[in-house]
Amino acid sequence: MSSTKYILGVFDDPDEMMHGIDKLQKNSVPIYDVYTPMPIHGIEAKLNIKDSRLGYAAFMFGCLGGTIMFSMVYYMLVHDWPINIGGKNFFAIPDFIPVTFEWTVLWTSFGMTFTFFFASHLFPGRAPRVMDLRATDDKFVIAINAKGNISHDDITNLLKEAGATEVKHNDRKYVSYE
């Protein structure tokens, strides 16, 4: 029993990496995750990753922000302290629109972005769970959990055939900085 925990296929080229994913999947090798320096389109479909639902969060936050602002202005200008401006309506809806709009945008942006940070575990001081330091620079890395029935050599060969420039057998999951 080897001490290898994760096998990393390191690619120089995103297309070869996509090819690598295809090969692995054809041979029923489960892929743990893929790390890339830039977004690769089409990869989610291959890995069967569901669409992001952040859009729904954004919409709900927007509705919430707009409602809060509109209700607040309504309470202040119509209910709590109406100001008589030449006998005009206290409930002057057109005047409420700019601030309601601004808060809709504000809540959409902040709500959605913080949901993203929360869901992806991104926050200042979070220890980066990095498997290969070059995956944020110029390498495209496929990570495979080594705890499977498929022999490690087969995985290595598959990755090499697909064009991996390097295959790493890592004893620990993440690169530790210290």
């Binding site: 830039m38 709009f101 575990h121 330091l133 944020t136 620079d137």
Partner: protein
Amino acid sequence: MASHSESIIREPLITGKDITYAKITNDVLRPVENMPGKAWWIGFSVASLGASLWVFAISWTFWFGLGEWGLNKTVGWAWDITGFVWWVGIGHAGTLISAVLLLFRQNWRNSINRSAEAMTIFAVICAATYIAAHMGRPWMAVYSLPLPNQYGSLWVNWNSPLIWDVFAISTYFSVSLVFWYTGLLPDIATIRDRAQGIRRRIYSVLSFGWTGSVKTWQRFETVSLILAGVSTPLVLSVHTIVSMDFATSLEPGWHTTIFPPYFVAGAIFSGFAMVQTLLLIARKVLGLENYITMFHIESMNKIIMLTGSIVGVAYLTELFIAFYSQNEYEQYAFANRIAGPYWWAYWSMMTCNVITPQLFWFKKIRTNIPLSWVLSIVVNIGMWFERFVIIVTSLHRDFIPSSWAMFYPTWVDVSVFIGSIGVFFTMFLLFIRVLPSVAMAEVKLLLKSSSEQAKKKLMDEGHVVPAEAEFYIASLEKFDSVEQSEYLKA
């Protein structure tokens, strides 16, 4: 897919030979990972001198009060609000590049969006300092917020565009900041993974633990798209509301319905001019000629020309409507602008904003770097005069001739303005020193499709219609970063 081939007739967005993903990282991070050169230090010294002048002049203002400015009872707004509107306008280009061009899938935004967005944030900070300063007692800013208080509560007046502006500018600033910083996360992670020691620790905290896994990238792209979607109407609303500060008053020269589109066009105009001013220098000093190419410069010049023409049409419309309205106050306001005591400001504005940008119709001029740079500064000057003309010439001769007055800036006014430019450049120079000035991840996306080398490969492999290849080669002639001799034999 990262590698679909783009039509050959589109101009390349990345020039140069042997560009690899690693080379992009190295090129972009050179100023961040090495000690800055002489040019940076000279720029930084001058900018921080300006910033010190700002600190001094603002402290002077707070200590002795607004009486130190040239304001009087008739002209109650002058350099302060001119400076405010000018800076907010400059900020608009960043959002336009990062949001509107993203929605339109304009890939040339990828290499300029980062610095343009940074510029937005710094410009809005400069604008906000004017708002705080013109209150005289800046701690009174708290009364622009709808907080419960001992007077009732007496709430803010939600019917007033000035309150809308508080919300517009603060939303604009914070949303731009979030947009910018989210986009920075992958690039900060790149710096982190290349750095050692204390720098690695700092960038590690700043990177929020970014790894670049599939799910994170997928969410990142959703967030970027939606932020772009909401920032687009936001940026239009901000300058619309700024224009309503004027347009909802009854002041002749201000009380016009054309103000919102006219202000928004002017904002984009001045913003692109400032991007041009900064990037033409930055690309040279930071050696980014292969990423910020002549195509980018020319595209921005075209936008400057277009928005400059819109602004020109707005000026003429204002004049026509003043005549056509048969309203003598409105007519006088414009006659006074053209030929009154501030005629020189009006004609500086006309020349710099309407006439000289028309030079960009000539391809020779819009692809000439020194001329583009000079013209971008001319636009900035012109747009400053536009705000000065709108504000001061409308105010200085009001409805009662006995209260007519002139505005003369004091040394404090001038110092606050020059100082704010110093503050802006100080922040910008610090930014290019510590953070990547080009969005590396987004530029890497273009490498296999829109780069010169990818297109050359297509041509060499003979996948291209010869007539199209000829067209493409002809379009490369203007590029200063393309090795022209490579294409002679083809």
